[in-house]
């Protein structure tokens, strides 16, 4: 093949394998300019939002929408106490504060992310290591559902959740999210498939059962990927307000609270500095997670082609 011939030719010519030092070309210079403008626009927005969150909503922001605050005001304490969602469902009537919303967010995002990572991981292990026909059926199912789009099944899903008692329950959301479908099944599948048979066979000969092999050998081997996928899902569910808005009316998450506050014009939280302070309070935990785990999040997860 072409690649092998090239490698042979390079070897003969004594060309080293290391990538050459990067050189600027018209394309990369243009890209650099676009990227600098992109970063500047993004940082400008964040910077403006932080400055505005420290402004007095009545005395300062009305006449000074883009400058530094005339007087730095700590709006966050006020926002923390006033950031509330009024809940009125069949099972619950009352007011939910920000602290409680954080708790619901952690429960919803943490549980959903855990089960949405665990189920594809275990299913991928079973499909990759147990060569039954059903394993191939499961693998094909994942590929088909990735390619075949289904639109507009939300009303049917709501009815199903209500009829099974999953509706308006955080644990119900964990079950709804605990599917094996999607890209990360393939990520885990490829890892388990590449695992030499001797790893598990040796343990089995030593008397280990299937569960021991799974818990003591297979899962520890994919713990890094498992944690990365978990983090990606955690961030996704933490930020998701549309699912809780429909499925968790009694347990508003922080994202749902942010949405409710942003579309409710009849309270003091409608002032721009207050809303931006609330946005920053919601942003902080996820930004901390990103800064701590950014190498892991930006790691080496790749998607291959979809082949049925």
């Amino acid at each position: 093949m072409f690649k092998r011939e090239l490698a042979k030719r390079n070897k003969l010519l004594g060309i080293r394998r290391e990538r050459a030092h990067p050189k600027f070309s018209p394309v990369t210079i243009a890209m650099l300019i676009v990227l600098i403008l992109y970063v500047a626009s993004l940082f400008l927005l964040f910077f403006w939002a932080v400055l505005t969150a420290f402004k007095d909503p009545l005395l300062d922001f009305r006449t000074n929408t883009y400058g530094f605050p005339v007087e730095w005001v700590w709006n966050f304490s006020y926002v923390f106490t006033q950031f509330v969602v009024h809940v009125s469902t069949e099972t619950r009537v009352g007011v939910v504060g920000m602290a409680e919303m954080y708790l619901y967010s952690f429960l919803y995002a943490g549980g959903s992310a855990f089960f949405n990572t665990l189920v594809p991981c275990i299913t991928a292990y079973l499909c990759a290591r147990f060569k039954y026909k059903f394993s191939r059926v499961m693998h094909t199912t994942v590929l088909i559902t990735m390619v075949i789009p289904v639109v507009g099944s939300l009303p049917a899903e709501i009815r199903m959740a209500q009829s099974l008692g999953l509706y308006d329950q955080i644990w119900g959301m964990w079950i709804l999210k605990a599917n094996f479908l999607g890209m990360y099944f393939l990520v885990f599948y490829n890892i388990f498939k590449a695992l030499p048979a001797s790893y598990t066979e040796a343990a089995k000969i030593d008397g280990a059962g299937n569960m021991s092999v799974l818990l003591r050998i297979a899962l520890p081997l994919v713990r890094n990927t498992f944690f990365t996928v978990f983090l990606i899902y955690f961030i996704q569910y933490w930020n998701d307000y549309q699912t809780p808005l429909i499925y968790l009316p009694s347990y508003p998450t922080i994202a749902q609270g942010m949405y409710t506050v942003s579309v409710t014009p009849t309270q003091e939280m409608s002032y721009v500095p207050m809303r931006l302070a609330a946005a920053i309070l919601m942003l902080v935990p996820i930004l901390v997670i990103f800064l701590i785990f950014q190498k892991r999040l930006l790691g080496n997860l790749t998607v291959g082609g979809i082949k049925g």
């Binding site: 507009g152 605990a178 307000y241 942010m258 942003s262 942003l283 998607v303």
Partner: protein
Amino acid sequence: MDESRITKADIPVTEDGVQPSSSGGDKREFHLKGSQKDMIFYVCMIAGAVIQFAVCYVWVNVSSFIMAFQNINVATGDISWTFGNFGDIFVELSWPNFWTMTKNSVLAWLLSLVVSIPLGLLFSYYIYKKMPGSIFFRAVLFMPSIVSAIVMVTMFRYFVTSAMPDLMNDLFGVSMPNVLDPATGHAFGTVMFYSIWVGFGTSVLMYSNGMSGIDPELVDAVHIDGANGIREFWHISLPLVFPTLSVFLITGVASIFVNQINLYSFYGGTAHASVQTFGYYLYMATKQADGDYGSYPRLAAFGLILTAVAIPLTLFVRWLLEKFGPSED
């Protein structure tokens, strides 16, 4: 699991000096027992995933299909069968609104195809070539993906509607309208700009990770042959990252029918008809139904119509990419 090579002689002796019994010591029987254990373990472990799939995917989609032909009387709970939902949804939407929605949904997809994907690929190429600041740029490009849409939209909305007009007026004496007000005619363009602006994260990450797997010898060879950066990008990077790109292109077709272009975050349930997309309408209408089963069949019928278009279109794009897409050779 391949256990055909394991014989009784391979079974290690325990600490007590006893070789574990294989129920009679017969090799065939040992195999049977092992495979039975495997089968039991397999069934027990996979059952949960299969049940979840059967209920939350198969049942839901079959119910959605059936629901499209139902007429539900909310007061009595009676269900009758009808094809009327397919006509009713267009009456409810009105044809002009439906065409506006179609235009917006297709335009959103085309813009992502023409602007987001090429820019994403070029950004990825810059990062892959390890040009100055590439690690920093990769992190910053990914940042909007970790920030909640509602937070980003809140910041963006107030910036373009309060700070920007004042800034434009003070600096250039230009009066800037509220670009998110549909009456100005700029709302859809502004929302699309926002969606593209925050949408590079995952694709750039995947493309650049895919490009990092390209054999350096191949790149060296084309440079020796006199190729410049543009030719390297076109003839090496792009074909080799094509499997990743094709995933985004194939799954992107479905986005015509599900992409909300962040309209719900901008406008809640009150986005003007001139900016709506299919994805927004389906979510907004389901949310606004708020448990009113009577309106669900019309939405299910609309979803069925869109699915009937989305499936062949997706398969067609997949076929096109396989037929005419570049190969690694």
